[in-house]
């Protein structure tokens, strides 16, 4: 049985478009994009270190060539920028880490904010040791 109602009508939804530069509109989104970009610079550092190790393995001449290359102002500039991004990468990584796991102490969950202390503390200690090892010793 049909009851006459008025003809069914369309609902005209408005679908807003995501703006092209959506990531530039909020500081938090911008930070996110920079964080993601930082992986490229992490990859650069890894590659740089691998080439360094390889050069050392090839002997004094190859090592000297590498050092000359690394002393190039352009390469230094790239490495400074890369360092900034890698630090950003590390900081955001350690900030995010507590949120991904649940650590229990005596039956209660340790608040994520508290986990930041051992994580960042550990990073500082390890970095201090490496700096001492590579630069000072």
């Amino acid at each position: 049985m049909t009851t006459s109602t008025e003809p069914g009508f369309e609902v005209r939804l408005y679908r807003p478009k995501v703006p092209r530069f959506w990531w530039a509109r909020r500081p938090s989104y911008l930070l996110f994009i920079l964080r993601e970009l930082s992986s490229l610079f992490v990859a650069w550092f890894v590659a740089f270190l691998l080439v360094l190790v390889y050069a050392v393995g090839q002997g004094a001449a190859a090592y000297q060539d590498f050092l000359d290359f690394a002393a190039n102002p352009f390469v230094i500039a790239v490495n400074v920028v890369a360092l900034a991004f890698v630090v950003l990468h590390a900081v955001t990584f350690f900030q995010a880490a507590p949120q991904t796991t649940v650590v229990r102490l005596r039956g209660r969950r340790v608040p994520p904010a508290l986990l930041a202390v051992p994580i960042f503390g550990g990073w500082v200690v390890v970095s201090a040791f490496l700096i001492w090892l590579v630069v000072l010793a």
Binding site: M1, T3, T5, G8, F9, V11
Partner: protein, 579 residues
């Protein structure tokens, strides 16, 4: 186009969703539709905080819960219904637990129970202080696993269709598009909640406008005990936001402006350090709210920007108890009063919270109209009588939601669907009526003004204390307001999600219910439970141990008759608290 189901449930809160599951489990072959003007998660069940009573403790018994409920109701509850309710409450709450409801637990993993107002023993199950929220979400998520349950989210039911003296379906507006549809069914269950928004200060959400009660009333079903409106003693002053009774169950005190626990002056017992069940702050809600009015009259309340208030003191409970048992209370106070209950006194006042009255049903949720059922706050069985005890309404949803679902499923299985030109004609008339409303853009005043006037009249004449003179006057004013509402402007002529139209429909429903409340209150010349007459201050069992039944006259005015209360094992006695 018309849609057909076997059972239609109007309202998607605790009772409606429980009923849907009950239909699906009783007979998986039936198609059941849940039609709600909001998405189910928004239903007002979500704001219930304190807990749900179910007698399970070793030192507790069904008899005691029954007695507490009957005495709490000031002997107006139907005792056979109370017996059934109390016996089924624990099993329904247990069913919720099996469905995942996160009841708070004892260290050994069993369900915890806490004390509550008007109850002799600890029997209130709770999920922190968001019991209604957890129950509703558990029920909603559980309905998702039953394929026969179809949902019509944001569809506003405007009329019950009746044929041959029985229910045949509903007419509803799909809010998103504005199209008006006819939904046919063999049984209809009303589970659309109460109507606290008839009053200006209420814990109730915007959606509590009594639409379902009005649907039944206009279809010729009487509304029972409408004069019994519960004021919850502790609502926040501006917003009316609920501060759960659990705060008092955990040991909170009510203080007047002198820091004095004033309830001791109102025959509710003597103040003690620890809460004593059925005494002082754990007295029944009607008496605790009435005490507030007493304090106002003695000039011992605190003046706030929003009128007189008293103070709820939780400071002595300490942060640990508050954070584990009352975290939502702390959150609400910080957000809406900018105070911290750990260190500050909470300003509170009685606000309308629950309507004991509603659509007349029996203990299976059946109304006098064949095929029409009702469950939850929309219904009046009655298990709450003249005053409801806190933590009885959440189990009420699931006990009677399930009963109504089973009964409606049986009815649907036994009766053929209705279909006739008469129904088509009714539906067409309703379409025309709604379309005419949309054209009313040039009205004489704003809906909000009429609504506020109604609320003002109700608070003044049908509040905690009433008298014949002001009730009579209120009845006249409400008649006038009905006319004015019928001429008020509806700014919005569009079809797409027209909330002005729904406001107009809701206001019309509320005015019908307000009239029922006022007429029922006017005719009841006694004081009982939440209905207190200054001109008739005593309870009168001889004349009024009966339910008021408000039925709609042809001219739209309610006419009140009486139905005796069913007494089984508990003859009327004195309500004693605190001694």
């Amino acid at each position: 186009m018309t849609v057909t189901h076997d059972v239609i449930i109007v309202g998607g809160g605790g009772a409606g969703l429980r009923a849907a599951i009950a239909v699906a489990e009783t007979d998986p072959g039936l198609s059941v539709a849940v039609v709600s003007k909001v998405y189910p998660m928004r239903s007002h069940t979500v704001s219930a905080e304190g807990g749900a009573a179910g007698a399970i403790a070793d030192d507790d018994s069904f008899e005691e819960h029954i007695y507490d409920t009957i005495s709490g109701s000031d002997w107006l509850a139907d005792q056979d219904a109370v017996e059934a309710f109390v016996r089924e409450a624990p099993e329904q709450l247990l069913q919720l637990e099996h469905w995942g409801c996160p009841w708070s637990r004892e260290p050994d993993g069993t369900v915890a129970v806490r004390p509550f107002g008007g109850m002799r023993k600890k029997r209130t199950w709770f999920a922190a202080d968001k019991t209604g929220f957890h129950m509703l979400h558990t029920l909603f998520q559980t309905t998702l696993k039953y394929p026969p349950v179809t949902r019509y989210d944001e569809w506003f039911v405007t009329k019950l269709l009746i044929e041959d003296g029985r229910v045949a379906g509903v007419v509803a507006i799909e809010l998103m598009s504005g199209r008006i549809e006819t939904l046919l069914a063999r049984s209809v269950i009303l589970a659309s909640g109460g109507c606290g928004r008839v009053f200006p200060f209420t814990t109730n959400a915007a959606i509590k406008t009594g639409d379902g009660m009005a649907l039944a009333y206009r279809a010729g079903v009487p509304l029972k005990d409408m004069e019994f409106v519960q004021y919850h003693p502790t609502g926040l002053p501006f917003t009316g936001i609920l501060i759960t009774e659990a705060a008092r169950a955990e040991g909170g005190w009510l203080l007047n402006k002198d820091g004095y626990r004033y309830l001791q002056d109102y025959d509710l017992g003597q103040p003690t350090e620890q809460p004593v069940l059925r005494s002082m702050e754990l007295g029944p809600r009607d008496r605790v709210s009435q005490a507030f009015v007493g304090e106002v009259e003695k000039g011992r309340t605190i003046d706030s920007r929003y009128g007189p208030v008293t103070h709820l003191d939780l400071r002595h409970l300490g942060a640990k108890v508050i954070d584990s048992k009352l975290p939502f209370v702390r959150e609400l106070c910080r957000k809406y009063e900018k105070i911290d209950p750990v260190t500050d006194l909470i300003p509170v006042r009685p606000v309308v919270h629950y309507v004991m009255g509603g659509v007349h049903t029996d203990s299976n949720g059946a109304t006098p109209l064949p095929g029409l059922y009702a469950a939850g706050e929309v219904a009046c069985v009655s298990i709450n009588g003249a005053n409801r005890l806190g933590s009885n309404s959440l189990p009420e949803l699931v006990v009677f939601g399930a009963r109504a679902g089973v009964a409606a499923a049986r009815h649907a299985a036994e009766h053929p669907p209705a279909s006739s030109p008469a129904i088509e004609a009714q539906a067409r008339d309703e379409h025309r009526r709604l379309q005419d409303l949309l054209g009313r853009t040039g009205g004489t005043e704003r809906l909000a003004d009429v609504r506020e006037q109604m609320q003002h009249v109700m608070e003044g004449s049908a509040g905690i204390y009433r008298d014949g003179g002001s009730l009579a006057k209120a009845a006249g004013t409400l008649r006038e307001l009905q006319e004015r509402a019928g001429a008020a402007t509806i700014d919005d002529p569009s079809r797409t999600f027209n909330t002005e139209l729904t406001s107009a429909l809701e206001l019309s429903a509320m005015l019908d219910l307000a009239e029922c409340m006022v007429h029922s209150a006017w005719r009841r010349e006694e004081s009982r439970g939440a209905h207190q007459r200054t001109d008739f201050p005593a309870r009168d069992d001889e004349r009024f141990l009966a339910h008021s039944m408000a039925s709609r006259d042809p001219d739209g005015v309610p006419h009140v008759s009486y139905l005796p209360v069913t007494i089984t094992g508990w003859p009327p006695g004195e309500r004693i608290y605190g001694r």
